[in-house]
Subunit: 212 residues, 2 copies
C-alpha cells in the first residue's frame, strides 16, 4: 500500500462512520474510542471537508448528536448523513405509507410521514421491538400487497455493544425476504446512492474522498 | 396426469401431513378440515399403511395427538414422525448440547437432552418465544463456537392459523444463517432423511408411497 502522504494527495474530504469508529454504543450512552475525539477535532481544523455517515437507525440524529457531544465530540445534526431521513425522502417521492418496524428512539424522524393504511414496510435496527408480534405484523402487511415493498435501513449483520454482540437489522431483513419471497431495498451503507448523498452534502467527488 | 386407479397401482403406503391437511391450527385447538376425519378412517381401514409425517414443532407429539383425537381423528403417538424426536437422536449421536430456541409446548420432547454449556443451537417454530433477547442469545452461542452448528426443525416460510398467516421457523433460521455466515442443518421436511425414517416406520419403499 502507498504511504500516507501519497494516498492523501488529492483528498479533499473525509467520511467518518460513527458507531465502532468514534464510539462504542452501550448502556449509559456508550464510550468514546480512544483518540477519536481529538482526531475529529484535528480533521475539522484541517483543510479537509468532514461528514459523518452512519447506519445508526435506533436513534434520531438529534439524539445521536446529543450523545456524541456529551462524549466530547464537536458535531452537529447537519453534519450527519443517516438512513432514516434518506428513507423519508424516498417514501415521500413514491407516495409510500410505511408500517414502521423500528426502534422507538428513531420514530421522531418519521413524524411527517403518513403511516395510515400501509402500502410498504420500513425495517430498521429495532432491538427489543423485533418481537414475534411486530415481525408478524410486518409480514402480514407485505403479504397483502400486490407489489410488496420492503425498505431496510442498512443490512448489517450485527454490531458490538459494550455488553457484547447484538443482532442488527440485516438478519431480520433476510427473515422477511425469505418469508415473502421478495428482495429488500437497502437505504444506508453500502448503497451507492447513500454515499453519493453524503458526498453531495460536502461538495466532494468520490475520487477525492477518504472513508473510514 | 394418469387417472387415479393407475396412479394407485403399486401403492402400499400413504404419508399424511397434519397441519393444513388434516386440520387448521388456531385458538381453541383449531378445526378439522372438512372430510379429513373420515378420510383418515377409510385409509386406516384399507390395505394401505398409513403414517403421519409433520413438521409441527410447537407441540410435543403427545399434545398434538391429544388435540387431533379431540377433533375426532383415530391417531396415536406411535404413528407420528415429527422433527423434535429426530433432532434428539442427532443430538445424542453427535454429543451436541443445544441452546433451545423453541416453543414451550415442545420442550418436553427434549427432556432427556443435556442443555448445559451449549455447543449448538436448535431452532423450531417458537412463536412468541422468537423475542429479540432469545434470538440474540442463540446468535451469541453460535458466534462463540469454533464450528457453529445450527439445527432447524423444518424451514417453512409461514403457516395458516384460523386467525391468519403466521411466520414459521424458516425466516428465523435464515436470520441466524445470515448473522453468523453459516448454513443450518434442516431436520424435518423436505429433508430426505426425514422422509426415509417415516417410510422405515411403516416398512414401505419410496416408490410404493403416496404422500399428501
Amino acid at each position: 500500500m502507498a504511504p500516507w502522504g501519497e494516498r492523501l494527495a488529492g483528498v479533499r474530504g473525509v467520511l467518518l462512520d460513527i458507531s465502532g469508529v468514534l464510539y462504542d454504543s452501550g448502556a449509559g450512552g456508550g464510550t468514546a474510542i480512544a483518540g477519536s475525539v481529538e482526531a475529529v477535532a484535528r480533521l475539522k481544523g484541517s483543510r479537509l471537508k468532514v461528514r459523518f455517515c452512519t447506519n445508526e437507525s435506533q436513534k434520531s440524529r438529534a439524539e445521536l448528536v446529543g450523545q456524541l457531544r456529551r462524549l466530547g465530540f464537536d458535531i452537529s445534526e447537519g453534519e450527519v448523513t443517516a438512513p432514516a431521513p434518506a428513507a423519508c425522502q424516498i417514501l415521500k417521492e413514491r407516495g409510500l405509507r410505511p408500517y414502521l418496524l423500528i426502534h422507538d428512539g428513531v420514530r421522531s424522524e418519521f413524524g411527517q410521514i403518513d403511516t395510515s393504511n400501509p402500502n410498504c414496510v420500513v425495517i430498521a435496527d429495532a432491538g427489543e421491538s423485533f418481537s414475534y408480534q411486530n415481525m408478524n405484523n410486518a409480514f402480514q402487511v407485505l403479504m397483502e400487497l400486490e407489489n410488496p415493498v420492503l425498505i431496510s435501513l442498512g443490512k448489517g449483520r450485527y454490531y458490538k455493544e459494550t455488553s457484547g454482540l447484538m443482532l442488527d437489522v440485516g438478519p431480520y431483513m433476510k427473515a422477511l425476504e425469505y418469508a415473502c419471497g421478495i428482495k429488500a431495498e437497502v437505504v444506508g451503507k453500502p448503497s451507492p446512492e447513500f454515499f453519493k448523498s453524503a458526498l453531495q452534502a460536502i461538495g466532494v467527488e468520490a475520487h477525492q474522498l477518504l472513508s473510514m
